[in-house]
């Protein structure tokens, strides 16, 4: 089994996605699951920006001295700019749903809630 040869940015992004997925699968507290979801979104955004990097070039702001053939890819950065804001909006709405759950059932443990519901 050969170890694939990837850069350190790809490795960091994949590790963040896996740690967030572990929190969603194993943990029982609702707030801990939502923290894991937010860490997964940060990992995916890092992966998208690091695919568009061209080594040796500089930021895509074309002031004096930087021509169009001297800049990194601007399209993944435009995608990630949108994705970060949408991530915080969905996290806010999910946390409000968790507050309502606590006020109705008195606990934040998913197995207790399943037992109290049925």
């Amino acid at each position: 089994m050969n170890v694939p040869d990837i850069s350190v940015y790809y490795f960091g992004a994949i590790a963040l996605v896996l740690i967030g997925l572990y929190a969603v699968l194993v943990k029982k507290n609702v707030l801990k699951i939502l923290i894991g979801l937010s860490i997964m979104e940060t990992g995916v955004n890092l992966l998208l920006v690091s695919i568009g990097y061209v080594s040796g070039k500089s930021a895509p702001i074309l002031s004096e001295g930087i021509t169009a053939s001297n800049a990194v890819d601007p399209i993944p950065q435009a995608l990630v700019l949108t994705a970060i804001v949408i991530g915080v909006a969905t996290t806010a709405m999910a946390l409000s749903a968790a507050i309502i759950l606590y006020e109705k059932y008195g606990t934040l443990n998913v197995e207790e809630i399943r037992r109290l519901r049925g």
């Binding site: 694939p4 699968l25 061209v54 702001i61 074309l62």
Partner: protein, 235 residues
């Protein structure tokens, strides 16, 4: 214990597959196809110097309208889920002397800096979204320092609605003058700012749209914070 071990083994298998897939995408090589077209034509098509904000507002402006809609739905959802008949703040400790004095001195400067970020969106990095988030952080500082502070909720909601209507109106004026929704009528029909590239009064309608987005995002995030901090009180 068994569940944890099974989860870790599954995650390692998924990680190995992801790494094998990403080994075929070499890091740091030039693979731009559409990006090269955007970088070469951005100065004469839009007049902006910052290529990323020109793509977000001008080339792909309809997707930004969708993002503003998603933020609006999330803010309305938070307000609808946490609604009570009478709400008030339930903080018990007053802020210390350093905090209250510092916030009173710093609040206008933070709002000024946020306004600077979204006005110069077509020249320097930033744009409407971090500018609006900075303004919301200024209001969060005021909430932390004083126990009985509340934002004027009605005025903020009206401002947010008017800013959203303004964005759609800019697009509809473009539809009336040019041929399609969100046509850049300032840069292409009126021709303002063609000799001013790199200074403030250029860039077509990018500063106007970013001002509207900055105001909308700032008041929306402040409304979310205000809804989450108040608790219902029964009489």
């Amino acid at each position: 214990m068994l569940k944890r071990a099974l989860a870790i083994i599954t995650l390692l298998i998924i990680g190995y597959w992801l790494a094998q897939g990403l080994a075929g995408v070499p890091f740091g090589e030039d693979k731009m196809v559409v990006g090269k077209y955007y970088l070469e034509h951005v100065k004469e098509d839009t007049g902006a110097v910052n290529a990323v904000t020109a793509i977000v507002v001008n080339y792909r402006g309809f997707d930004t309208l969708g993002e503003v809609t998603v933020l609006f739905i999330a803010s309305t959802g938070v307000g609808a889920l946490l609604w009570r008949k009478k709400k008030k703040r339930t903080a018990k400790t007053e802020g210390s002397l350093v905090l209250t004095t510092g916030v009173e001195l710093l609040f206008p400067f933070v709002v000024l800096f946020g306004t600077y970020i979204f006005i110069h969106g077509h020249l320097t990095p930033g744009g409407g979204f971090p500018g609006g988030a900075t303004i919301a952080t200024a209001f969060l500082l005021l909430y932390m320092a004083f126990i009985t502070y509340e934002i004027p909720h009605r005025a903020f909601e009206k401002t947010e609605g008017l800013a959203g209507i303004g964005y759609v109106l800019v697009g509809l004026i473009g539809l009336a003058i040019g041929g399609y929704f969100l046509y850049d009528w300032i840069w292409q029909t009126w021709g303002w700012g063609h000799d001013n590239i790199g200074r403030l009064f250029s860039g077509g309608f990018i500063p106007i749209i970013y001002t509207l987005i900055g105001i909308k995002v700032g008041t929306e995030l402040s409304g979310i914070i205000d809804n989450m901090l108040k608790e219902g009180v029964s009489e």
